[in-house]
Amino acid sequence: MTRWLTRRLLLAVPVVLGVITISFVLMRLSPGDPARAALGDKANQAAVDSLRHQWGLDQSLWSQYVSYLGGAVRGDLGRSLYFRSPISALLEQRLPVTLALMLLGALFAVAIAVPLATAAASRRGGVADHVTRALNAVLQGAPTFLVGGLLLLFLGVKVAIFPAGGYPASLGGRAVALVLPALTIALSIVPLLVRGLRAAMAESLTSEYVAFARSKGLGERVVRRRYVLRNAGVSGVSILGIQVGALASGALVVEQVFAIPGMGSMLMSGILNRDYLVVQGCTLVFGLLVVVVYLLTDLAYARLDPRARLA
């Protein structure tokens, strides 16, 4: 296990480096001068030059890259022009919010997908199967901001069970404020999760170990819970892990719709205010987040299914 883990960690190193490099290159793709764009057409040349110097744009590309790499390793991502504070400090406040949102979204997704997939898999081609597929098709086509907006309109404004956006200071208030946004994110990944789980369950149901469990006289409910669900759960973990990117993209949209001060709304404000370093920093952290979650998924998978460690 230790050897497997070391190997897996070493494999992640070039990806992390690549993620840092792409976030660096991203900002250099700008067709114009980012400093000029950030300050606007009316800014005087001295101010633009000073910002260029502050961002290191007056240095050679190579030395820019080296200092960016050094900064990224130290956790120094520069300062935000708009928020007037270090980006790392902003991320410290906002990353936990986004993580909580994504985690809650994943939990909701599992809570919705497991019963749906179970019902659909138990009788293929049955009513539940068709209903699930129809629901899947509709959900898959509905953009996240639309689902979020509708939930906000009906459960936040019309019926007003939940707050209509915002993020209060109290812990309880925050938990309630995250319900609708998390549900929105959950609904965006439910289709893929249901599809994957249903396939895994259907496969498990026709397997020899299930036939054996039945033949030794175990009740159908026990078979379902102990053999089918557990085995499908293993593949469910990896499906959910792969969806971390979708969860993050969902968070970006949902934070905007529900006015949640997370990393997604930070990225959006960076875009709207031409705050280049904020966009760069957020993109980098989102990328790193995915790499970390992939690693954790592999770990969880290896713990749940010993065969994975041998591969």
Partner: protein, 289 residues
């Protein structure tokens, strides 16, 4: 529409075989039917609506649906029906064109990687790992921002990110086909490598990529509409479903649902049709294999 140009080569040769399957495949038939109607409406948009989708008419703002204005009018007095139809033109064209380039690039890269292997394969696949490390929408939105916004930028941003999926799919298929006897026969027969790749391997590795392309268009529609919703996509006043929803939502509280709901319904219906076609296609092609 343009997505069909990518599909025709495989679909035409393969759909003819299991004709019974195609007939019993409700998802495919229904999906194609809805999609066909949407595409027809989009193409015929200028003829179908006598109202200009862009010209404001403040005297007739916020009218409810009626015989003259089928879906009513928006806050600037523009006919919503006409704007939804014209929105289909811009959104669907962009979404399908933005599938073709990644498809072509992914196909070329994937076949080369899968067939040749070696250092090229290693490097390309590591780049693919890195690109997929970023959440799709976040990388696209950052790229659109950096490159400056607009239709071209969206096209470039989507292409830069989504070729990876095609390359992976095609590479995996190519690695299987590479070891088959007919490819060995080609090699022994002295057929040049480019010809083997194009004429003998490409047709056999397309299926999965074509099926994926359908769900990719759905994703593109979502991305394009979301970008416009946030004011980063198709530049107004060009009609677009995302911008229509963004403009319309401030009138929801006052009870003017049409401004938002009609473009929303258009998005959902289009994606639904595309998903059904994708599902049906996957079904047909898998059975045929």
């Amino acid at each position: 529409m343009s997505e069909s140009t990518a599909l025709t080569p495989t679909v035409r040769t393969r759909l003819t075989l299991p004709s019974g399957v195609a007939r019993s495949n409700t998802a495919l038939v229904v999906g194609l039917l809805i999609l066909g109607i949407i595409v027809a409406l989009a193409i015929a948009a200028p003829a179908l609506s006598r109202w200009d989708p862009i010209e404001p008419d403040p005297l007739h703002a916020l009218l409810p649906p009626s015989g003259t204005h089928l879906f009513g009018t928006d806050n600037l007095g523009r006919d919503i029906f006409s704007r939804v139809l014209h929105g289909a033109r811009s959104d669907l064209t962009l979404a399908s064109v933005a599938v073709l380039a990644p498809f072509a690039i992914g196909l070329a890269v994937g076949i080369t990687c899968g067939y040749a292997g070696g250092w090229f394969d290693v490097i390309v696949m590591r780049v693919a790992d890195i690109v997929t490390a970023f959440p799709f929408f976040i990388l696209v939105i950052s790229l659109v921002f950096v490159l400056g916004g607009g239709v071209w930028t969206i096209f470039i941003a989507i292409t830069a990110v989504s070729w990876v999926a095609y390359a992976r799919i095609v590479r995996a298929e190519t690695m299987v086909v590479r070891n088959t006897e007919f490819v060995s026969a080609c090699q022994v027969g002295g057929i040049t490598t480019p010809r083997i790749l194009l004429r003998h391997i490409a047709p056999n590795v397309l299926t999965q990529a074509v099926v994926y392309a359908m769900s990719d268009i759905v994703m593109n529609v979502g991305v394009i509409v979301t970008l416009s919703y946030f004011g980063l996509g198709i530049v107004p006043p060009t009609p677009d479903w995302g911008a229509m929803m963004a403009d319309g939502q401030q009138f929801l509280a006052a009870g003017y649902y049409g401004l938002t709901l009609f473009p929303a319904a258009a998005v959902v219906l289009t994606s639904l049709a595309l998903s059904l076609v994708g599902e049906g296609l996957a079904h047909v092609l898998r059975i045929e294999r």
